[in-house]
Symmetry: C2
Subunit: 337 residues, 2 copies
DNA sequence: GTGAAAGCGCTAACAC
DNA sequence: GTGTTAGCGCTTTCAC
């Protein structure tokens, strides 16, 4: 039904292998022949069948991108950047959604393995050991997880969390809550580790929670019960949900409770109060991860070089959801200075 | 490198064709043999190579999804629903982003054609004629465009736009502006057509514009210059940008200008003022479109049945960005009743 | 119910 | 520089 290499060969009066070479190794073909073949191909609307080609070469020119939740606003900019970068290198991308389920992650990696040159797993929920194992079945890179021997790009949320906590401390907050993310999230553990280290006072950890608006909303009461005057949330979506919940419960943000998110998704500039948050470079991460994956494929068979790791800086963006806390200077009966 | 049908055949002491049948036509194989083969396959970690299979059967179990902008919040819920529905039918999906460029759309459809069972083009920007032509090269369905002979699902934005305009009229607005969307958008034309018909008074059309927050922000001045007291925007993102622009220009929303969006993206509930908008069922559209595409593939070779069209209802969601206009009842010097 | 053989569209030695 | 041949992993006649 579709036009094949054979049709082009017939039309241009050469053998199919010459047509093949015209497309896969043009320099090996006489320039006259080449233009004739090209002309015929063009006219017939011939397009090489990549799947057939891959059967021989082993290169599919596809990559797999596995994310926890396409509709979570954190991911689309990353997906877009990855797709764009992939296409720059003439690759197409499969996108798959795991719904935060580690079992689905594993299944998807295996299901895609044969059709791709590599798989990118973003914010994986599965264990390091499993990732390690899967990386033997298919070239694999990871975003938001640091694993020895597995190429990956991480955003430095530890640094970001530290900045966020320091910001809250400097505002005079002493009772800080950390609303953590989903079980299995490396990012969530990093945030917790770093925030705990940075908080000189009490740090109440609430979680794990689903990384969604609803997840944030659901813990509002608990935050208030804990007596926290400031909160660092696992991501912006949760922070926004939390703010909704706090307001619904009668608390004002930031007058009664300060809230900091992480990611700086588009939403964060647009909600009221505008969210103070830690900006993570998601588009850059998507691009870097694709580059990494493609590089992995190129060094085929080499004695494995030192696996690359990319570390991206994060940045605190102070907006309107954080304000002064009941610190030493504002204690009841304090001196007006 | 990878385990093939041949390895399984060797391990289970049968011919490769028996292994093949075990996976593609299990009923043709003796149940004892079958379980033996299955056991060996399992143990070796065998997975059929879909690309190789497709070479013969013509079915890839992949579908292509082409959208204008992955990072535009309108699309992710649709992509997620489509992916989920596709996977229910054991299909994987390629996602590609055209950056609103019709030429890229065309190129992507052709580039993906050989690797998929069908392509879904969402909110296409290319011409009907081109879509028609492409549909001969690969099974194709369309979202947000009505074309005779091409299966598609549309959201009834005409109905939505009418409801929105009627809502504004009932609030007493007489000078209404329509901020239209990108050139080539069927949805934008539909909205314009329907809004024009519904508006009994002046309707100032501003556009075409890029369907983004910036696109909305950019026309704020023009809206004010036009003297409009109410605006219907092509989508929520533009409406939100527009509101930002209006506020920056010193106008209050909804006191001075009412704004209605279209789509009801997640953001719309979270910005302040909360956006009045026309809710479009994007997830349902994604699912329906995938079903349609898969059905297309199944009726292979049939004398083409009447092509299906799905029409999804929309709904006006009244929130806080619309309010009373300077209608008859609120004219200066009017009677306090 | 199973094996043998041909072939999907293409590439990659190898001759000439 | 081009044709010949084998074969990637798999399905699908066709015998038996």
């Amino acid at each position: 039904m579709s036009v094949t290499i054979r049709d082009v060969a017939r039309a241009s009066g050469v053998h199919i292998s010459t047509v093949s070479r015209t497309f896969s190794a043009p320099h090996l073909v006489n320039s006259n022949t080449r233009s004739r073949v090209l002309a015929c191909a063009e006219q017939l609307g011939y397009r090489p069948n990549r799947a057939a080609r891959a059967l021989i070469t082993g290169r599919t020119y596809n990559i797999g991108l596995i994310v926890a939740d396409i509709a979570n606003p954190f991911f689309p900019p990353l997906i877009k950047a990855a797709e764009s970068q992939a296409r720059k290198h003439d690759h197409h991308i499969f996108v798959a959604d795991t719904n935060e389920d580690p079992a689905v992650e594993e299944e998807l990696v295996r299901a895609l393995a044969k059709q791709v040159d590599g798989v990118l797993v973003v914010s994986p929920r599965m264990s390091n050991a499993l990732i390690e194992q899967l990386s033997h079945e298919v070239p694999l890179a990871v975003v938001n997880r640091q694993i020895a021997g597995i190429p990956g790009v991480v955003m430095d949320v530890a640094q970001g969390a530290r900045l966020a906590i320091e910001h809250l401390l400097s505002l005079g907050h002493t009772d800080i809550a950390l609303v953590s993310g989903p079980r299995g999230s490396w990012t969530s553990r990093e945030i917790r580790r770093s925030a705990s280290a940075a908080a000189r006072h009490k740090l109440t950890v609430i979680g794990p929670n689903p990384p969604t608006e609803v997840g944030g909303l659901a813990v509002a009461e608990e935050v208030l019960r804990a007596g926290a005057t400031a909160v660092l949330a696992y991501n912006d979506l949760m922070a926004i949900g939390l703010i909704e919940g706090l307001i619904a419960a009668g608390a004002r943000v930031p007058q009664d409770v300060s809230v900091v998110g992480i990611d700086d998704i588009m939403l964060s500039r647009l909600t009221r109060p505008k969210l103070t948050t830690v900006a993570t470079p998601t588009a850059a991460a998507g691009r870097a991860a694709v580059d990494m994956l493609l590089a992995l494929g190129d060094q085929q068979g080499d004695d494995r070089r030192t696996t690359a790791h990319v570390h991206l800086q994060t940045e605190l963006v102070i907006r309107d959801s954080t304000g002064p806390g009941p610190g030493p200077h504002s204690a009841p009966g304090g001196v007006a200075s």
